[in-house]
Each structure stands twice: as C-alpha cells, then as structure tokens.
C-alpha cells in the first residue's frame, strides 16, 4: 500500500496545536496535581533532554558515547556556580575559597543555563577532536573514561567545585515550564537537524562511515558536530537537573557512570535512534524508577512481609535492561519516529481492514 504523506502546512499546523495542547496539559498539572507529581513531571522533562541528546549522538549518528554524564556534570556545576549568590558561595566554600571570577558573579537562571550548555559543548569539542577517530569499542571506553575524569576532577578541584562537599542550597529554579520548554527547544533543534540533509549525512555515517566518506561526507567533522550539539543540550539538562535537585555532588549516582547508565536505559527502552522514542523512554524510566521505590520500602506480597532492601531498585532496572536487550532490542519506537504521517497511515490501514 502506498505510504501517503500529509501536506507540510497541515503537519506544521498540527504540531503547533499539539504544542499548545501540551502547554495546556502542563498548566493543568501545575494547578491540580500535588507537588510530588509535579516534580516527577518536571523530572521527565529533564530526563527527556538527556535522552534526546544522547540518542542523537549514539542512536542517530552511531557514536557510541558513554560519557554523557560528564557533559551533564559540567553543565550542572557551571550553572550552579553561576546562580549561587556571593554570600552562599562564601559560606559553602569553607575548605578552600572559590576562585575568582566565579566568587563575585551571580547570573540569572536562563543565562546560567545557556552558559552551562556552551561549556559542555566546548568540552565536547576538545574531547571529540582526538577521540572520534576511534572505532566503536575504543570510543566507548574513551568516553567512559572522560566521564569519570570529569567526576574525578570535580572531586579534586576543591577551589572550583567545593570537592566532595558538593554545592548545596541551590535555588529550585527548575519548574515544569523550564524543563519542558527546554525539552521543546531540544526536540525542535535536533529534530530539525535530523530532518535535513545533515540528518541523512549522520545516518549515513552510522550505517557505513567508509561509504559515507566516498559520497563526499567529512565524517569526522559531522561526528564532531553531532557530538557538540548533543553535549550542548546535555549541559542544559545538567543545569536544569542541578536546580531541580537543589544540590549537586561528585558521586557516581548523581553525575557519574550510574547517570550515564540511566540515560542509556531510557534510550534503549524508547528505541535507539528515535527522538520521540527517547522521550517515551525517559517517561517510562522516570515512572518505573518511582514505582520501584516500592521495592525499597517494606511491603506485603501474597501476604508475606518483604523487608526493605536498598539497592533493589537498580537491580530490578538492570535486570529489565538486560531482558530488553535480549528479547526486545528495538525498544518502543525502534528507529522510527512518531510522526503525523505515521499516525495518519496507521489509521488508514485500520480503515482498510474494515
């Protein structure tokens, strides 16, 4: 059956309606849901940005980067250091005072977030330039190492980051609008890029870098481009994350390998290489993660009292992850996107069956 395409103007119109609809949903949530659920919804937005930016690098361009947590960390710390008031900084940095000029600046949330993204992007350029020439496995280890290096640097550069003490008492600037607003920006920018000649070039690089070169594509330059763009949004998510948590520290769960793993679960669940899939994966992960809190508190199952076992959550998550990899590798969306054309053709096929 022919795949029918809707007229472009209609699709743009539908998208705008959808965005307005989502804004309305968020508005209602903020009014009627209790704080707990609003926080979860906000977190989904933040996770969404992490997931979309990672799937752009890993799934669409085929760069197996395991260092995403590094970019989130850079973004988180950059933004936090910029939004904290001067007095706060003096109070927190009692091991070693914060270096100049950071100790005398304070910026608004938006500027701090954007600068956070830029910092992450700069690091991505510096790391990517030598590393992206490496092939899959080596690149994975190198980026993993990079993520760890960032964490260790944060841990040790006490006069910049306050080391193991972390930064506490951050203003909870991140609300549902900032999170989903930035998610919208991320999806628009990355989606627009993917839906262009550049997207085709990146996918070609993913499929076969040698053939891509033979078709005139500068593979390294395009990989670097994808890496930097992905890192930029990861940095943004870091800023949002820090101001949602209100505290950041260099522990592996917060800004280390465990964060990378969580985002990896999101994009594998959602479908490696799909932007809409990444958002679904982020939502699924957030909800699953919260629901699994149950297993970490005492509960009754079939009348038997099960005691609280800490660490169960991660165990269940990683088991699910391995099962998904073994049995349902394509995830929710596989490599395809949820598009207006896709929905239209789905209903067309249903209609045909009757």
């Amino acid at each position: 059956m022919q795949y029918r395409k809707l007229p472009t103007k209609l699709k743009v119109f539908l998208t705008i309606i959808f965005i307005i609809f989502m804004a309305f949903v968020l508005f209602l949530s903020q009014k009627f849901l209790d704080t707990y659920w609003i926080r979860i919804l906000t977190l989904i937005g933040i996770y969404g940005i992490m997931a979309v930016s990672l799937t752009f690098i890993n799934g669409i361009t085929g760069i197996f980067s395991l260092g995403h947590s590094g970019f989130v960390a850079i973004g988180a710390y950059t933004a936090a250091l910029l939004t904290m008031s001067i007095e706060q900084k003096q109070m927190s940095f009692f091991l070693k005072p914060l270096i100049w000029p950071l100790n005398s600046i304070q910026l608004d949330f938006l500027s701090a977030t954007i600068i956070a993204g830029i910092m992450a992007a700069i690091f991505a350029y510096l790391i990517g330039y030598p590393s992206l020439r490496l092939t899959g496995d080596y690149l994975a280890i190198t980026t993993l190492g990079f993520g760890e290096i960032v964490r260790i640097l944060i841990l040790n550069m006490i006069s910049v980051t306050n080391g193991p003490l972390g930064l506490k008492g951050l203003e909870e600037y991140t609300n549902i609008w900032w999170a989903w607003g930035w998610l919208l920006v991320t999806v628009l920018v990355i989606g627009s890029l993917v839906n262009s000649s550049y997207g085709r070039a990146l996918k070609a690089i993913r499929e076969d870098p040698i053939a891509a070169k033979a078709m005139g594509i500068n593979v390294t330059k395009h990989q670097l481009m994808a890496f930097v763009v992905g890192a930029f949004f990861a940095g943004i998510s870091g800023s949002l994350y820090a101001h949602w948590l209100t505290t950041i520290d260099p522990r592996p769960q917060t800004v280390g390998i465990l964060l990378t793993f969580n985002v990896l679960i999101m994009i594998v669940l959602g479908g490696l290489g799909s932007i809409t899939g990444a958002i679904f994966g982020a939502a699924a992960f957030a909800i699953l993660s919260e629901w699994l809190r149950i297993v970490e508190t005492p509960f009754k199952i079939f009348g038997i009292q099960v005691p609280a076992i800490s660490g169960m959550r991660l165990l269940v998550l990683s088991t699910i992850f391995i099962l998904v990899m073994l049995t349902w590798r394509r995830g929710i969306m596989g490599r395809s996107e949820l598009t207006w054309d896709g929905i239209y053709n789905f209903f067309l096929r249903l209609k045909r069956k009757h």
């Binding site: 085929g62 197996f64 395991l66 030598p130 590393s131 490496l134 899959g136 496995d137 080596y138 994975a140 280890i141 190198t142 993993l144 190492g145 990079f146 760890e148 290096i149 260790i152 640097l153 841990l155 040790n156 040698i210 592996p252 390998i257 465990l258 793993f261 990896l264 594998v268 490696l272 076992i309 800490s310 660490g311 169960m312 991660l314 165990l315 998550l317 990683s318 088991t319 992850f321 391995i322 990899m325 073994l326 590798r329």
Partner: protein, 303 residues
C-alpha cells in the same frame, strides 16, 4: 617527601605488585576481546564477585582460607561462563553495539546484585579473620621492608600466568582459542565447537579475574560492591596499551600501567587524588599514536 633509594625501591615493589594484579585482570579482558571483539564491561565485577565468594567461603562456610580461595576462583570461572551463556551468546550475531550495551547492563546488574545480597557496607579482607597473620609480617631485604604478602601475591600471579600460557599454547582447547581469535568462521568450519571454546575462554579469563580480586583484596582489604569498576577499567586500558587481543600484550600493559601509576604518585604526591586519571591519559595517548598497542597487530578493516 624526598626520593631516596629505599623509598624508590619500595615504590618499585609496589609498582610490580600492582602491575601483576592489573596483568591478571587484563589477560581476561584481552582473551575475550581477542575472540569476540567484545569489551566485557562486567569483567571487573567478576573480579569483585570472586572476592566476595572467598570472603563468604571463609566467614560463612568456615572453610580454610586456601580452600576458600580455590573455590572462589572456580566460582568466578563458572560465573563468567554463565554470563556468556545467558547474556552474550544470544547476541553473537547482533550488531556489536548491542553486545556492548548488554555488557554494561550486566556490569550494573552484578554491582546491584552484590549490594542487595552482600550489602553496600564495605567488608574487611584483612588478617587474622580472612587469612593468617603470617602474611603481613615484614621481611627486611637490604634497606627496604617488604611484606611476605607481596611475595605471595607475586608468586601466585606468576603461577597462574604460567598455567595460562601452558594452557593456551600446549593444549588443544588453547589452540582452538587461538584459532578462533584469528578467524572464527573458518574455525567453526573445521569442526570446533566454537560456543564451547568461547565459554571456556570466558571461564578462564573470569577465573583469573577472580584470583586477581582475591589477591587485590589481600593487599587493599576494602571489599565493596563497586571495587571492581576502576580496576576493571584500568585493566582494560592496560590491555589496550600492551596490545589488545594478545596475552603478552595484556601482561606488558598491566605491569607498565601499575608501575607508572605508583611511580607518578611517588614522584608527584600532590597529584595523588588524580591517580585514576593517569590511566586514561595514557590510554588517549596510545589510541592517538599507536592504537594497536605496544605489541599489538593492526586489525585492519578491508575496504
């Protein structure tokens, strides 16, 4: 701290010791990568599991320490075999990225399993509870003092490596392993049960990792579920430095990395907190200038 000869020699001894431990773990990584082109991220966690097996063998099952060690090493080997069977074998024909991602998942799985079963609080692997106090006695050699433990660890390491070299070069299965790492399809056509040999490779590599874990814990007695992450990562780096896919490369890389790490901290104590980063910097340098490693052969892609 001034660098005097005794201090230098002391650090040298530590460097050799650490190098030997890295070498043990690196060999397992190299063997698996040589055969499957898979970085088994869970390798470091098998290292950790072996240690816990030994710990509980002694404290829970009240076995004599040496027996518990042997069982733990065998247990680690079996664990490695099972992991391959369950998680990696089904993905033999899937794209490499899938197997890699699964390996990461397996790593996190093992770590969280350890947290749940063994608890997240670190356990002590120190004498006299775990092994006789005899090992912590210091021997005076010239101007330096070395623990008997150091000789024990080095001795066992040498023994295990010798056994491994015998196995790989003198037995039929070892030959099959070498054949598979050159050309898996042809080896299968020659009637070799490839899956079984791959399983054995995992088993041996994991057993070595388990041994490495136990010996590691004897020297650095803090046993916790995440203890394998960093040593595992560094062991892989060591394998790459020496030349991935070759056992000699893994050994060379392991010893080199251990020495460099200890020496850098000895000469620049200010950077002690950054010591883990050294390994990565060396990795990046090697991958940029000699990606096949010091001893390695180039794995070219045919155009």
């Amino acid at each position: 701290m001034r660098m005097t000869l005794p201090i230098f020699l002391q650090n040298l001894a530590n460097g050799i010791l650490l190098g030997g431990l890295y070498a043990l773990i690196a060999i397992g990584y190299s063997m698996v990568y040589g055969i499957l082109r898979l970085i088994n991220f869970a390798h470091g966690d098998i290292f950790m599991m072996g240690t816990y097996f030994a710990f509980y063998g002694i404290t829970l099952f009240l076995l004599p320490w040496w027996l518990a060690f042997v069982f733990a090493i065998i247990g680690a080997g079996i664990l490695g075999f099972l992991i391959d069977r369950i998680a990696y074998k089904p993905l033999r024909n899937a794209p490499r990225i899938s197997a890699l991602i699964t390996a990461i998942g397996m790593s996190i799985f093992l770590e969280s399993l350890a947290v749940v079963i063994f608890g997240g609080i670190p356990k002590s692997f120190a004498p006299p509870r775990i092994y006789p106090k005899f090992f912590s006695k210091m021997l005076q050699i010239g101007s330096i003092r070395v623990q008997i433990l150091t000789f024990f660890i080095l001795g066992i390491t040498a023994l295990l490596i010798t056994f491994l070299i015998w196995f790989v070069y003198k037995t039929k299965i070892g030959m099959a392993m070498r054949a598979i790492s050159t050309d898996i399809a042809t080896t299968a056509l020659m009637g070799v049960n490839v899956d079984f040999v791959i399983g054995i490779t995992f088993a041996i590599g994991s057993a070595l990792a388990g041994a490495g874990g136990i010996l590691w814990a004897m020297k650095y007695p803090n046993v916790n579920p995440y203890m394998g992450f960093m040593p595992g990562l560094k062991a892989f780096i060591a394998a790459v430095i020496g030349g991935i896919g070759s056992i000699q490369g893994a050994m060379l890389g392991g010893f080199l990395l251990g020495m460099i790490e200890i020496m850098l901290v000895a000469f620049f104590p200010r950077f002690a907190g950054y010591r883990d980063i050294f390994a990565f910097i060396i990795l990046i340098l090697i991958l940029m200038y000699k990606p096949s490693g010091i001893l390695g052969a180039k794995l070219e892609e045919k155009v």
